[in-house]
Symmetry: C2
Subunit: 209 residues, 2 copies
């Protein structure tokens, strides 16, 4: 297989997803969708993650197809959108609104297992088809004291903009006891799914120099 020239578009504001793509040396551009998350009380956590990922994808497609904000240099492209949320004992834990909210969230998560749920949608313009997946990973935190949580949130800004208010491969590594499932999914996108799905869309990540 030789890579067809297709632009890979990551429809995400997440620095972590961008970092995963950059670390894997996947050439890509980033589009920030205009999708606004609204509460969907009838959906399960998994359905919700997929719902938001679809919304982000639709918005990103509109931006690309209207040719208003982005010029794609290749004939075809794929768009990848994802939404990650944290579930603890049946409850969805949102992103922290501020520092004291982050402290509250982390207090809830300490000494317990929570689940990272990511909905992913990949769209291919060549075949005009999409593929979807919901991936879950369990994460077990050790038990930090309240003062340690305050120190974590005060001395790093990792809690900002992240589901669960922590960053696994940054300072939060010191209170993560174990994970079970895809580790990249904890960061924001299951990279094994991205690989296998892009292969079906005729893009081989492993061939990129």
């Amino acid at each position: 297989m030789t890579n067809v020239r297709k632009t890979i578009i990551l429809a995400s504001q997440s620095k972590d997803r961008k970092r995963l793509f950059s670390n894997a040396r996947i050439p890509h551009i980033v589009i920030i969708s205009k999708y606004e998350e609204k509460s969907q009380p009838t959906l399960s956590p998994k359905e919700l993650a997929l719902f938001h990922a679809r919304g982000k994808l639709a918005s990103a497609r509109e931006i690309v197809e209207s040719n208003k904000a982005v010029l794609i240099a290749t004939e075809h492209y794929v768009i990848i959108a994802a939404d990650t949320l944290v579930e603890l004992e049946g409850e969805i834990i949102g992103k922290a609104k501020d520092r004291s909210h982050a402290i509250q969230i982390l207090k809830k998560l300490m000494g317990k297992i929570h689940t990272l749920i990511t909905g992913v949608v990949v769209y291919d313009s060549e075949t005009n088809t999409s593929a979807e997946r919901v991936d879950t990973t369990q994460v077990r935190f050790s038990s930090l004291s309240e003062q340690e949580i305050i120190d974590y949130v005060t001395n790093s800004d990792e809690y900002k903009w992240r589901a669960g208010s922590y960053s696994m491969f940054d300072r939060a590594s010191v209170f993560i006891e174990s994970v079970s499932g895809s580790p990249s999914n904890v960061i924001g996108i299951p990279m094994d799914f991205i690989f296998s799905q892009l292969k079906k869309f005729n893009i081989n990540i492993l061939e990129f120099l």
Copy 2:
């Protein structure tokens, strides 16, 4: 707890361990020990990882205590040494000698679960005591074809110098299906152990700015 001024010394050549420490913003210096790994056929994989970690620690202590190669600015210090190895179905998989050896190793690991075993020793000069731990994490690879393995090894140099010939948070993320255990242990050192052990030695990682 206020951090006493103690120098943290990482006795390791591993760029991955240094990256974990840097990402967690742990101030440290690196010392490269002169320990040479010799085969120890009577030891189990776990015993072997600990044996080598002890050997690295002893060598690093000698370097520091002889005052020949390193000047420590603080009265006290801790030294951290670690050794990581890969076990597959009872067999220890060493580091790749070259590109074709890396391809052989990765072929063995594909579609299977292997175990990352890390032996860690932390020495504290203030109390003149050491603490040890062996941590294991299971990693499941998806099934890459031989050509895909060749592409991985040809188009990235991640296989070099690494137990198992891959780097979990770089391009290898695309063929890691799941892990079970400490994720930082897969990279080379279990950071939750480092945190809890340094706390006992009066260093609080979470207080560092």
